[in-house]
């Protein structure tokens, strides 16, 4: 008798999973569940949190106002950064901690150009679009610098970006000779506040445009496949004709562009800049958004929509904490606790233990029967 050749290494067939289990396995489950939890908390604690009213802003225009609008508005920079951060994380298995400092540089460049080197200007010295383009170019160059250190000199991303993290705000100050230029032209603030006659804050539109752009880019190019492939196995990607170094560099340049857009939104909110405070600690939030979105911080597979939802969750949490009068300076302590809980829960060791806990009663029941 001969038995047919059986492959003992064939994957063990898994029983079909229940709907609930598949749902909880989905990558977006954690950020959406966190969002739902926050919404629920606010609904119970104070339903007025969700009220949206029409108010007159300082210019006398009727605009929408309320916590929800403020979450959507204030999360803009974070969402834009989180998208770029997701790509960088996926390709290089590390995070860029210089995004806050780089935002200061981009903002500083834009302000310097529109103010024409003056401390306070009432009209723009050059067309806004050119100034923003210049900001984008400078920021992309700094992104390329980070990317080159990571890809070509093989320095761990967090350490490579430490350089710009240390120097960035000082460079921003140096660009404007340590003056704090103020742009009084109202049209400069359109991007950060409201367009005339439109009651919805402009940053919401800008963010939507960026999200749309990346949706299209992921659909109509191989950005997703290449980035993931390089992040998972650079050596194998190279043998399939990809240039892992170039792709890593590219993701850092893309993040640089995102940083410039975020920096532009941030400076056009107030028309001025404070080098040491602008976008302070935003790198932490951006990394948190990526992690919260269910993306492995070690790189590889990614889902930018997870990071986007993650970013809104963080802003939601921040706004909620503000509402309950947690001082802004103490905020990092609370967020740090959330980060630690999150990474601990997602640590493989803990996951395994949790899985064992779940499995143990099932096993015991089987043994009895």
């Amino acid at each position: 008798m001969t038995t047919p050749v059986k492959d003992p290494k064939a994957p063990v067939q898994k029983p079909r999973e229940g709907l609930l289990k598949r749902l909880t396995r989905h990558q977006l489950f954690i950020p959406l569940a966190a969002l739902a939890l926050l919404v629920l908390f606010n609904l119970i604690a104070d339903p007025s949190f969700f009220m949206v009213t029409m108010k007159e802003n300082s210019l006398g225009n009727p605009v929408l106002s309320g916590n929800i609008i403020s979450v959507l508005d204030n999360a803009s920079e974070l969402v834009i950064l989180a998208i770029g951060m997701t790509l960088v994380t996926a390709s290089s298995g590390g995070q860029d901690i210089s995004v806050g400092a780089a935002m200061a540089i981009a903002g500083s460049v834009i302000l310097r150009l529109v103010c024409g080197g003056q401390v306070s200007a009432d009209t723009m010295a050059m067309p806004l679009i050119l100034a923003v383009l210049a900001g984008v170019v400078v920021s992309a160059l700094f992104g390329a610098f980070n990317g080159a250190l990571v890809a070509y000199f093989k320095i761990q991303p967090m350490v490579a970006t430490l350089i710009l993290f240390t120097a960035g705000r000082s460079i921003a100050a140096w660009i404007n000779n340590n003056q704090l230029p103020i742009m009084n032209d109202l049209s400069f603030k359109y991007a950060g506040t409201f367009l005339p006659g439109i009651p919805v804050p402009t940053p919401i539109f800008i963010t939507a445009a960026v999200i749309l752009f990346f949706w299209l880019a992921l659909k109509f190019t191989n950005l997703g496949l290449y980035t993931q492939s390089v992040g998972i196995n650079a050596s194998s990607s190279r043998l399939n004709g990809l240039d892992p170094k170039l792709i890593k560099l590219l993701t850092y340049v893309i993040l640089g562009v995102c940083v410039a857009i975020a920096g532009f939104v941030r400076v056009s909110r107030s028309g001025s800049i404070n080098y040491s405070r602008i976008a302070e600690n935003i790198e932490m939030d951006a990394i948190l958004a990526v992690a919260l979105g269910g993306n492995a911080l070690g790189g590889g597979k990614f889902n930018i929509y997870g990071s986007i939802v993650g970013a809104y969750v963080i802003q939601f949490l921040t706004t909620t904490l503000y509402k309950y009068e947690v001082p802004s300076t103490a905020l990092p302590a609370y967020k740090a606790v959330v980060v630690i809980l999150l990474v601990v829960l997602s640590a493989p060791v803990v996951q395994e233990k949790l899985a064992n806990l779940k499995r143990a009663p099932v096993k015991a029941a089987k043994e009895v029967s």
Partner: protein, 505 residues
């Protein structure tokens, strides 16, 4: 425990996600015995050893060690050391940034301090007595790989151990060093140490070993006294097939009847790369299957990597279809119609977390370009076609490739290259570490591709696989092409003689 046994393993089981690596394996080691642990790649030898040394926790079974009451608890390599088991692993498991002496003593001295003088003196004595050309104060990383391996062996034998495990220690050693090692093993055996010896070289087994335990596909095949098991039988036990079965393949497909006329598809002269191979010439015709053979580290992989542009090419000319071409990076080669299945499936082949579908279309997609992704439907069609064609066992084309078995992963990589419809396909060890059924399928596929008019280069550590598939063999030794065999010369003995060198007539 049995009389005279120093180590007994009973009913050892170990499962990795989706793979049953060991199933109910028994193993007994007696005092003063050299015991060979044999099996093909992926048979479970290394897993068994890693379970024994506490690197992997076992899922079931018991380990008994002489002098320890009841089942021994070994949860970490430290536990194993304390229980009297010392190990030399296949890969060098020393710290390159420490000195030679430290590497010999770290993790096994008593007290809090690090006594440099005692370490250097002790290490110096052992190094001299074993004739290892290294200074105790030298940083380990500055030694050659062979010396590093000898240091690892020196560390292991210097420990007062009951059990010594040598997991393929000879692959980086030259002949004299192997002789030295065998002398050492016999001395230890005389002192009553039990030695487990894992190797690929059958000659070495028959030279020093007393007993053989054979594993196959994670299961115990049997334990034999060496005199009772001739080589041919050992091989057939390892493979799980009678040798006659294997001879069938060539018969089925009618062999590689290739006309040796016609222009070469690819012709390389004086090719060399920064991976340290001597310049070599190579050419292949349409419908021809060639092979590179030689011992581990002889440079056969480096040759094909140079052809594909995987290593930095430092010199030489390549012509394809008679026209000179420049191949600087893999993409150049791919565009010229060359495909390359790399030797290290896990490290260079699969992209683990990506799905089977994405892995299959990857190469073709890269050739098509960044701005022209395949539609989902198109990609699925490609993947389904090849999953069916190559009988890839996967739940769906969406399954991450890393959850497939080795053989099925290899088929996906093959599918990746077949999808690009190459003129010339290089397969570097496509059959390593996969089950025998898939091995045969792959060999058949190679012959089929050749019959369809594609050129194939096939590399395998198993010479009979190459004999079955190749019509021409290039023999490598010391990173240099030393001979080319075809036709009548393609016999096991002739190949072995060429590998060994011209001095043996």
């Amino acid at each position: 425990m049995q009389e005279g046994a120093v180590l007994e393993m009973r009913g050892i089981c170990k499962e990795f996600p989706g793979v049953r690596a060991l199933h109910n394996v028994d193993f007994t080691l007696r005092e003063g015995e050299i015991h060979a642990l044999m099996g093909e790649n992926g048979a479970g030898k290394s897993t068994l050893i890693k379970v024994l040394t506490g690197v992997h926790p076992k899922d079931g079974g018991e380990v008994h060690i002489k002098g320890i009451e009841g089942p021994a608890v070994i949860r970490s390599p430290q536990d194993a050391q304390n229980a009297g088991i010392s190990t030399v692993y296949q890969e060098i498991t020393l710290c390159p940034n420490l000195t030679v002496a430290e590497n010999m003593y770290i993790g096994r001295t008593k007290g809090m301090g690090a006594n440099w003088k005692a370490m250097n003196d002790g290490a110096g004595k052992i190094l001299t007595s074993l004739g290892i050309p290294a200074s105790p104060k030298q940083q380990l990383g500055s030694c050659s790989i062979a010396v590093q391996q000898m240091v690892a062996i020196a560390r292991a034998v210097d420990m007062e151990c009951k059990v010594l495990i040598l997991d393929e220690p000879t692959s980086s050693l030259d002949e004299q060093e192997v002789v030295k090692l065998f002398g050492l093993m016999r001395d230890l055996k005389a002192k009553g140490v039990g030695i487990i010896f894992v190797t690929h070289f059958l000659e070495q087994v028959y030279e020093v070993c007393d007993r053989i335990t054979v594993l196959r596909d994670g299961q115990l095949v049997g334990e034999y006294v060496i005199e009772d098991l001739p080589r041919v039988q050992l091989v057939s036990k390892m493979l799980g097939k009678e040798l006659d079965d294997m001879a069938d393949i060539k018969g089925e497909t009618g062999g590689t009847a290739v006309s040796l006329e016609g222009d070469p598809v690819l012709e390389a002269t004086g090719l060399c790369s920064n991976a340290g191979i001597k310049p070599f010439d190579f050419s292949i015709r349409k419908g021809e299957v060639t092979g590179f053979t030689g011992l581990l580290g002889s440079g056969r992989s480096e040759c094909v990597r140079a052809i594909f542009g995987a290593d930095h090419v430092t010199g030489g000319n390549v012509k394809m279809d008679g026209k000179a071409v420049k191949i600087r990076k893999p993409l150049d080669a791919m565009k010229k119609g060359i495909g390359y299945l790399p030797e290290d499936r896990k490290g260079d082949g699969i992209v683990g977390d990506l799905s089977v579908r994405e892995n299959i279309i990857l190469a073709l997609q890269v050739m098509k370009g960044f701005f022209r992704p395949f539609s989902r439907a198109q990609a699925e069609a490609f993947a389904d076609e090849y999953i069916k064609l190559l009988e890839i066992k996967t739940a769906s084309s969406d399954t991450p490739i890393k959850s497939l078995s080795g053989g099925n992963q290899q088929k996906c990589i093959l599918a990746r290259w077949l999808l690009t419809d190459p003129k010339y396909l290089i397969l570097d060890e496509p059959t390593r570490g996969i089950d025998i059924g898939t091995k045969i399928e792959i060999q058949k596929l190679v012959l089929k591709l050749a019959a369809e008019g594609k050129s194939v280069t096939f590399i395998s550590s198993e010479i009979d696989e190459m004999l079955r598939t190749c019509s021409r063999l290039i023999v490598m030794r010391d990173r240099k092409a030393v001979g080319e065999l075809n036709g009548e010369d393609l016999t096991q003995t002739k190949i072995m003689a060429t590998i060994a060198g011209g001095d043996k007539e």
